[in-house]
């Protein structure tokens, strides 16, 4: 809502020293957020004066007709001689009163005017158009003022209102009343304790007979007013002041009849519609649209109406989508002499739905859906026809239509100290009553309670806290004290919250940089992952309104985002990158139905919540990491080391280690990993083996699809499952007896996983085994064809004694025997 200060001051006696910025600051604190204060014309400097066209000489021989004018500007040019000005406009005649910008002046936008040679003449200044003066946009030529508007040579800047401060207010959805000068004036008056002149206080005589016949569906429209004028001069111009104010308020001037309806809308907040009455046939009906009814609206769009739309129809069918936009056939035209003005109070929710359904937002619908005054219609229509009469030479018809289906509002009962209790401060007795009355409420004291009937222009005031807010904001939010809350002692972070942080810190400490990727993916990404047609990860929730049609799906894996981010970093000159992300993926539940909209007048039942849960996709938290290039750099110490599949698996081990969980690794074939370099990762939870994710080197086709460096490795694990496998850690007994170390070298088949050999050794070694570690793998001649040599260090230690050589030897033998039995190993000589 744009509010010109001089217009506002017509309704509220603000102290004269209050600037637009002062007012803006006060309004903003009180809930009318002034986004900007536009100081229109602040860069204008004179002399800009009235002038009279004395003589026009038509210059010919140019591409367009040009006029060389002699203009009387009185003494404003210092000489009293006529000013000679070249002008391209043609909409004026000798004797016309015009606006002249003399050399040295500056127009809006820093446009400086001087004397210059043009079209073979010297042009000493400019005869101004409305656009050049910043008054409004038009292409009709220069401004020709009505006779008597001002004296020749006198300053025109002030009288034309070229300088104006305009407040641009971002009105919140609850404060529909502030979409009017009247509403803003009321708040401004309250904040400064100034008197308010309500522009809706219009004398409305009783109707002298029946107006235009109308039938009204009371469920759709609470009040319906039609007032007519006849003998309207369709060519009567809109006065300069009205056009200027409309323009300053962001509304384009069109014609007097339309401008008047817009002007009154800005003034009172009541949207009005003006018809050419001669185009209306029979009775006007305010009713729901019939299914399939059609209407071509003013914007030349043919619309099919919905039974939920409110229409105004005459005997020929719909003529308006009520409260949103008029129909084309009944549009007021430059020939209309009989004008019918409609002021109605339509159901806010209907207008909101219609506006959304037809994607039609207008100044009218914006006001209706935020709530307009349910009683101002008669005043607004009367004000409008009054202006049409005054400015358009029309006569107001004394008969009019007024259908009142509005219901009286029930009072809201609040404790007298309710605002104090909400704010946490003690307002003096009577404070609430005083402010609520200032806002237009009827307040009746009833012991310690107040019965408050909000005014008709405040449909947003429905609850006790709405009233508290009015009191608190007018008392000043800045006066709310600051009192530290007394919070019961908390429980700190949950185990999984702590785990998540620890995992992030660990990955960061092992070289990975955290990224936060968008969860939007497309089919192309899933194809790039080489997912089979029936892969569960292809079943994804989708956005009805994605930002990009290429990415309408919600991720079922973290990998695509990580891949793209890795490729971006490589593209920016960082070939050695390790990235990780912790985030949710979205896995639809098969056969999920629509989540219900539960009632809000009570808490939901367990069954109702279960229905919502069943509709929500599973949203497990995962950790993904991807790395390429050197994980260890080369340098003065020697060569570096390239990232490989093992780094990705180790990242998973580290994550599990942080959680205190043992990770089991087994070979697997799983997209998007290289089928020979992919590990399935498991944890144990209550005897159950849970697959928590995969790691390894990426499939070469995936590498290509995402333009990744060769041999890029990746891991993705489900943190929620690792969390589930966590148990309480029992502290180990730390033995201080000496360790006995034994090395074991075994020959096994090349396909036997080292993990299996290690597990078999550990199983056989028994309780004395403290640790086992692989220190060498060798394939080659000495191992024999199809075989490999693996070498382990076993460390033995007892809790209660120093182990004898015999004990250690026996344990070693048992370990080897187990490996022989389970993996077909042969001990190397």
């Amino acid at each position: 809502m744009r509010v010109p200060m001089t217009w506002l001051r017509e309704y509220v006696d603000l102290p004269s020293d209050v600037t637009a910025r002062d007012l803006a600051a006060r309004l903003t604190l009180a809930g009318l957020e002034v986004e900007t204060v536009d100081e229109l014309g602040s860069d204008i400097t004179g002399p800009i004066v009235y002038g009279r066209i004395l003589a026009i000489e038509e210059l010919t021989g140019f591409k367009k007709p040009i006029r060389f004018c002699r203009v009387d500007v009185g003494a404003a040019n210092g000489t009293g001689e006529p000013q000679e000005i070249v002008c391209g406009a043609r909409n004026f005649s000798e004797g016309d009163l015009v606006v002249v910008c003399l050399p040295g002046a500056q127009l809006p936008g820093g446009f400086r005017i001087g004397a210059r040679k043009t079209y073979g003449k010297t042009s000493a200044g400019m005869i101004c158009s409305a656009t050049e003066l910043g008054l409004w946009e038009d292409h009709e030529g220069i401004v020709v003022l009505p006779e008597g508007f001002g004296g020749v040579g006198a300053d025109a800047i002030g009288p034309l209102g070229l300088r104006e401060d305009v407040l641009d207010i971002a009105v919140t959805p609850d404060r529909g009343y502030a979409l009017s000068l009247r509403g803003v004036a009321r708040d401004a008056a309250a904040l400064y304790g100034a008197d308010l002149r309500d522009p809706a206080a219009v004398d409305v005589p009783e109707p002298a007979g029946e107006g235009c016949p109308a039938t009204v569906d009371a469920r759709l429209c609470g009040r319906y007013v039609l007032r007519g004028v006849s003998g309207f001069d369709p060519e009567a111009p809109t006065p300069l002041w009205m056009k200027r104010r409309l323009h300053q308020s962001g509304v384009r001037p069109i014609s007097l009849a339309v401008d008047v309806t817009n002007y009154v809308m800005l003034e009172l907040g009541q949207p009005l519609h003006a018809w050419d009455r001669s185009t209306i046939t029979g009775t006007l009906q305010v009713r729901a649209a019939a299914r399939g009814e059609k209407l071509e609206t003013l914007d030349h769009v043919k619309r099919t109406l919905d039974p939920d739309d409110i229409v105004i129809a005459d005997d020929s069918g719909p003529v308006n989508i009520a409260g949103v936009m008029g129909g084309l056939t009944t549009e007021i035209s430059l020939a209309s002499t009989e004008v019918l003005v409609e002021a109605a109070h339509f159901g806010a929710m209907h207008i909101a739905r219609t506006s959304r359904r037809h994607q039609l937002s207008s100044e009218s619908s914006r006001r209706f859906e935020r709530g307009v005054d349910s009683a101002v219609q008669l005043a607004a229509a009367t004000r409008a026809v009054g202006l049409l009469a005054e400015l358009g030479g029309a006569s107001v018809e004394a008969a009019y239509t007024h259908v009142d289906r509005s219901a009286a509002r029930e009072p809201i009962r609040i404790p007298a100290d309710h605002a104090s209790a909400v704010a946490g401060t003690d307002y003096p007795a009577g404070t609430a009553e005083r402010w609520l009355r200032t806002m237009g409420c009827e307040v009746a004291a009833d012991g310690d309670a107040l019965a408050v009937v909000p005014p008709t222009w405040r449909p947003d005031l429905t609850d006790p806290n709405d009233l508290a807010e009015e009191v608190i904001r007018l008392e000043g939010y800045e006066n709310i004290p600051s009192i530290p809350p007394v919070v019961p002692s908390g429980r700190g972070l949950t185990a999984d919250q702590r785990l998540r942080r620890a995992v992030g810190r660990t990955l960061a400490a092992t070289g990975y940089n955290e990224v936060l990727c968008y969860p939007f993916v497309g089919e192309r990404d899933l194809d790039g992952l080489q997912l089979a047609a029936d892969d569960a990860r292809r079943v994804s929730m989708r956005l009805a309104n994605p930002l990009s049609e290429e990415e309408p799906l919600l991720r079922t894996t973290l990998l695509p985002g990580l891949f793209k981010t890795l490729a971006r970093n490589v593209g920016r000159g960082f070939p050695d990158v390790a990235l990780f992300e912790t985030g949710l993926v979205y896995r639809p539940k098969p056969g999920a139905t629509r989540a219900p909209l539960l009632p809000v007048d009570r808490g939901p039942s367990a069954e109702e919540l279960a229905l919502i849960d069943a509709a929500l996709p599973d949203q497990p938290r995962r950790v993904g990491a991807v790395l390429a290039g050197a994980v260890e750099r080369r340098g003065w110490w020697g060569p570096g080391r390239e990232a490989l599949w093992a780094d990705a698996i180790q990242a998973a081990r580290d994550i599990a280690r942080v959680a205190g969980v043992e990770l089991e690794v087994a070979a697997d074939e799983h997209a998007p990993w290289h089928p020979g370099r992919c590990a399935a990762l498991y944890v144990r939870s209550g005897g159950e083996r849970l697959l928590v994710g995969h790691a390894g080197e990426l499939h070469p086709r995936t590498v290509k699809a995402f333009a990744l460096p060769e041999r890029t490795a990746a891991v993705e694990v489900e943190l929620d499952l690792i969390e589930r496998a966590r148990g309480a850690v029992t502290a180990p007994r730390v033995s201080t007896y000496p360790v006995a170390t034994q090395d074991v070298a075994l020959i096994v088949g090349e396909s036997v996983p080292v993990g299996a050999v290690s597990a078999a050794l550990a199983q056989g070694a028994g309780e004395l085994l403290e640790s086992i570690r692989l220190f060498d793998v060798y394939t080659g001649e000495q191992a024999g064809p199809g075989r490999k040599s693996v070498a382990f260090t076993l460390r033995f230690r007892a809790h209660d004694r120093t182990l004898t050589a015999e004990e250690t030897g026996a344990a070693r033998e048992a370990a080897v025997a187990s490996a022989v039995e389970h993996t077909g190993a042969v001990q190397r000589a």
Binding site: A421, V422, Y477, G490, G511, L516, N545
Partner: protein, 372 residues
């Protein structure tokens, strides 16, 4: 054992002559002093302090002396040998110290050489600052609550008093979610962390004091100040008899801990369907503390010379929200706030462009270390 040789005349044993002992002592001491390094000293030790050295040989002669002469000669030779031993030890210490000094100098390295073989990574500054923000409230006694990112419309809107057709519902540009078959799901990408308020009230015993950091989604195209995916920190307190003043107290404590003590805050009346009364929260600009207002010569980048920085929205929990969450608004009241995590990071670290926070460029991330 032979009988004592009483007839032996000590003066006739030349090596035990006092002059001779003194000479041997002097010779040894001179050699020790002349030893230039540990190797030379080793040779000197062999020559003057070993079993074959003149003093050691002289010492052997003492046994053959008559008893009356033994004590005198023993004293003389013993004194000389002790002096030589001490001199050797002292010289050894000096030469070792010299050697150590030299070796340590020779082993000097260039400590400015880099050792970035395996550089550290970093956490994302948004993660780190979100934790820091949450932890300020955890320190006050709040717990951390969570909820799903794909959320039922009922939780995201209806339960928060967004009426089905109210303009406020369309004010937040919502991503609507469909089932995989394209069917209606009744779900949205949560447009704010506020649905966690309702979940917390349904899941927890009263009173409830929680904060909920989380990812939120709106259909804004990515530009310098907007991102379709962003982060909020929600706060909720529901208890008996709590007020806007407590809300302000909590916000003040947060601002003090996050941006510096003594910064003023300011509430501006505003509107959110789920709070009534509602307010926007501004804090005094921590960079200029208001000094830039009206001073065109010293403009403030942080607050655009406004003097205030908007950090979030807040208000008294609308009793209708309590009702929808099964809490009796006649008994309990509450307040809630929502703080923008991107905004906080932008202010705290001078981040200029949203792109930097979403693109995952390692230069941006690693600049912060792992704490923001």
């Amino acid at each position: 054992m032979s009988a004592p040789n009483n007839s032996f005349d000590p003066v006739e044993v030349a090596p035990l002559h006092p002059d001779e002992v003194a000479r041997m002592r002097e010779e040894a001491l001179a050699a020790i002093a002349a030893a230039g390094d540990l190797d030379e000293l080793k040779e000197v030790r062999l020559a003057h302090a070993s079993d074959r050295s003149p003093l050691a040989l002289a010492n052997r002669e003492i046994g053959a002396l008559p008893p009356a002469a033994k004590a005198d000669a023993g004293k003389r030779v013993g004194g000389a040998r002790r002096d030589v031993g001490q001199a050797l030890k002292a010289r050894q210490a000096v030469l070792e110290a010299e050697r150590d000094e030299r070796v340590l100098v020779e082993e000097r390295v260039d400590v400015t050489l880099p050792w970035d073989r395996a550089p550290l990574g970093a956490r994302h500054p948004l993660t780190a600052i979100a934790e820091r923000m949450a932890d300020i409230f955890v320190g006050m006694g709040f717990d951390i609550a969570e909820g799903p990112e794909i959320e039922a419309e009922w939780f995201n809107f209806d339960a928060l008093n967004f009426l089905p057709d109210h303009p406020a519902r369309t004010m937040q540009d919502t991503f609507f979610v469909e089932n995989p078959d394209g069917g209606e799901s009744g779900l949205v990408m949560r447009t704010h962390t506020s649905p966690v308020q309702v979940r917390a009230l349904l899941e927890r015993e009263l009173p409830v004091y929680v904060v909920a950091p989380g990812t939120t989604f709106r259909t804004d195209e990515l530009d310098a100040t907007h991102s379709p995916v962003f982060h909020q920190l929600e706060g909720l307190a529901v208890d008996k008899g709590i007020t806007l003043a407590h809300l302000r107290g909590a916000i003040d404590a947060f601002v003090g801990a996050m941006f510096g003590e003594g910064l003023r805050t300011r509430f501006r009346a505003s509107y959110f369907p789920f709070t009534e009364p509602s307010a926007e929260v501004d804090m005094e600009c921590f960079a200029c503390r208001g000094a830039s207002v009206g001073d065109p010569d010293a403009p403030c980048r942080t607050c655009s010379s406004e003097g205030w920085i908007e950090i979030g929205g807040c208000g008294v929990v609308n009793p209708r929200v309590l009702t929808a969450a099964g809490v009796d608004p006649e008994v309990y009241s509450g307040w809630a706030f929502g703080l923008g995590i991107e905004r906080t990071l932008m202010f705290a670290h001078g981040v200029r462009d949203m792109h930097d926070m979403v693109e995952g460029d390692i230069r941006f991330t690693s600049a912060f270390g792992s704490e923001s």
